[in-house]
């Protein structure tokens, strides 16, 4: 990080998040669960409320001034997503309900077209179920196989295996940018270059990456890049699929209905150009506009300053947690986002979760929708703390003493 980077004013930032001053079970909330869902800043909440109060109607509905204004705000949010991802054209941004829906869209349009019996789809050992199950379903439907890039004990992809794993039958590589369990930041640019060298297109699951690091889909040369608004300080129910225009244009539509058509007769329906042909029905308009406001908020804070603050928290928390006897951190990649999974000898993660909850510390205990990864580490579940730009070292101190208290109880 550059030495001249002005640190974030975290005290001021925290005032933008009303939930952070709540009291739960008699304790002030310490929110260390942004990997599950990020908190929304007030400006985004208020922008959504304003839409519902003063501007509510539908989009792409002809001549009314109100509808035109709603359409403008909604499309302006799409442009904000384009800029945020560094895409070349706004036509490459498809609204979806989130990461899961975006991956299913690609699997059932692009995937169905390019994958045939005997082909292979490549994923990694650290994928979220959202980037496993849609491919497994497709493989089953087509008689294709799913292959898996293995990881080291430290939680890094074993890239040497790529040469062997990518064959002439590989039709798609789907890989996460940042692991939601291990925090590992994968060298996506290199992976994409190596896949492309063998003619294999790549879908990147960016759900856990966009909140922490600056993404430029053109620089990465990603074929598809997907994320969820709610992990990015935005609302639930909205997310996006970035796809290279050439892919989107060649793909068949997915859901049929209103909005995605050019003309309908009993004989034949013609479809909108991308992204319209993938957007059947009335979208979550307020959510899209709210996400746009959240992106403005993050851009104003500065993604490099956000990254610096989160990195400081990651280093501090790692140091403090590592000193606790019996506690083991899963995921020790050299390049990590601010996510820490751990297990404590003799204490099941769900017991730890309940005890931390009683201290007001909000974390996630479970399999994190990554059961194959849990099996890889031979644990049923982990406890996971994740840090955002509004968190402080004091939050981590509360976490550490709550963990120590739980260990003391279980002695």
């Amino acid at each position: 990080m550059s030495a001249t980077l002005q640190p974030l004013d975290v005290t001021a930032i925290r005032r933008d998040f009303p939930l952070l001053s709540r009291v739960l079970s008699g304790k002030p909330v310490v929110y260390l669960d942004s990997a599950v869902s990020g908190q929304m800043p007030l400006c985004a909440i208020e922008r959504m409320a304003k839409y519902e109060r003063d501007e509510h109607t539908n989009v792409h509905r002809g001549v009314s001034t109100l509808s035109q204004q709603a359409t403008d705000s909604y499309e302006a949010a799409r442009e904000k997503v384009r800029r945020f991802l560094g895409a070349a054209s706004v036509r490459e941004i498809v609204w979806t309900r989130g990461t899961t829906e975006a991956i299913n869209l690609v699997a059932q349009t692009f995937g169905r077209k390019v994958v045939q019996a005997g082909d292979e789809i490549l994923v990694s050992a650290m994928e979220h179920h959202a980037n496993i199950v849609p491919w497994q379903m497709l493989a089953q439907e087509k008689g294709a196989t799913l292959k898996v890039i293995p990881i080291t004990d430290d939680g890094e992809l074993i890239l040497e295996s790529l040469d062997e794993l990518i064959t002439e039958r590989t039709k798609l590589l789907a890989v996460t940018h940042v692991s939601n369990v291990l925090g590992t930041v994968n060298p996506i640019k290199e992976i994409i270059a190596r896949a492309h060298a063998k003619g294999v297109p790549v879908l990147v699951d960016g759900a856990q990456a966009v909140p922490h690091l600056k993404v430029d889909v053109q620089d990465l040369d990603a074929d598809f890049y997907v994320f969820s608004g709610h992990k990015l300080s935005g609302p639930t129910g909205i997310g996006a699929l970035y796809g290279k225009l050439a892919h989107l244009e060649a793909m068949p539509p997915w859901h049929g209905g209103g909005n995605m058509i050019r003309s309908v007769t009993w004989e034949k329906t013609t479809y909108m150009a991308a992204p319209g042909k993938f957007e059947a029905g009335t979208p979550p308009i307020a959510a899209a506009i709210g996400l746009g406001a959240a992106l403005d908020y993050l851009t104003n804070l500065g993604l490099d300053r956000i990254a610096a603050q989160e990195h400081d928290l990651l280093v501090y928390a790692t140091e403090r947690l590592e000193r606790i006897p019996g506690l083991h951190i899963l995921g020790k990649a050299r390049d990590k986002a601010s996510v820490i999974s751990f297990v404590v000898e003799g204490i099941h993660p769900h017991d730890m979760g309940s005890l931390l909850d009683g201290e007001g510390v909000v974390i996630r205990a479970g399999h994190h929708c990554a059961q194959p990864l849990m099996a890889r580490y031979n644990v049923p579940a982990t406890t996971r703390a994740s840090f955002a730009y509004f968190n402080t070292r004091e939050d981590i101190d509360v976490l550490v003493s709550a963990v120590e208290k739980a260990i003391e109880l279980f002695k």
Binding site: G26, P349, H350, D351, S354, F410
Partner: protein, 149 residues
């Protein structure tokens, strides 16, 4: 109860650390596996039932402290009891941890197992406490699998 620490009393912590009746009966007359998809808790029960009485019972598996202590205490309390009484205990335990029965007056068969009544205030953990009982219920009815899904 707002503090989960009240649930993690000595009895529960101690049974978690040293579960009673741990293992597997072979041969057995009744057997079932229980699974809690949310937590990944797994439990296997084996029983020997003679003349309508639970002559012996063992469990094995892995789970959280609530689950393991519940299994340990359950196997202890049903051993030597008629099957009909064990069934009635299952009903009382379920009702109690769901907050439908008053542990002081409506769960006479459970004895000190009423210490699990606090689970009702941790809705995400109710299934952990119930898993051994749901598995026992399945085993007694001759079903091989129970799930708290």
């Amino acid at each position: 109860m707002t503090d989960p620490r009240e649930l993690y009393q000595q009895v529960i912590l101690e049974h978690n650390k040293k579960p009673r009746n741990f293992g597997k009966l072979d041969p057995c007359t009744h057997h079932a596996e229980g699974h809690n998809p949310l937590c990944g808790d797994q439990l296997e029960l084996s029983l020997v039932i003679e003349n309508g009485v639970v002559a012996d019972i063992k469990f094995q598996g892995s789970g959280c402290a609530i689950d393991v202590a519940s299994a340990s205490l359950m196997t202890g309390i049903v051993k030597g009891k008629p099957v009909a009484e064990a069934e009635a205990m299952i009903e009382q335990f379920r009702g109690m941890v769901r907050g439908e029965l008053d542990p002081a007056t409506q769960a006479p068969l459970l004895g000190r197992l009423t210490l699990f009544s606090g689970v009702k205030d941790l809705p995400s953990r109710v299934k952990c406490a119930i898993l051994p009982w749901a598995t026992l219920h399945a085993a007694l009815r001759g079903e091989e699998e129970a799930s708290t899904e």
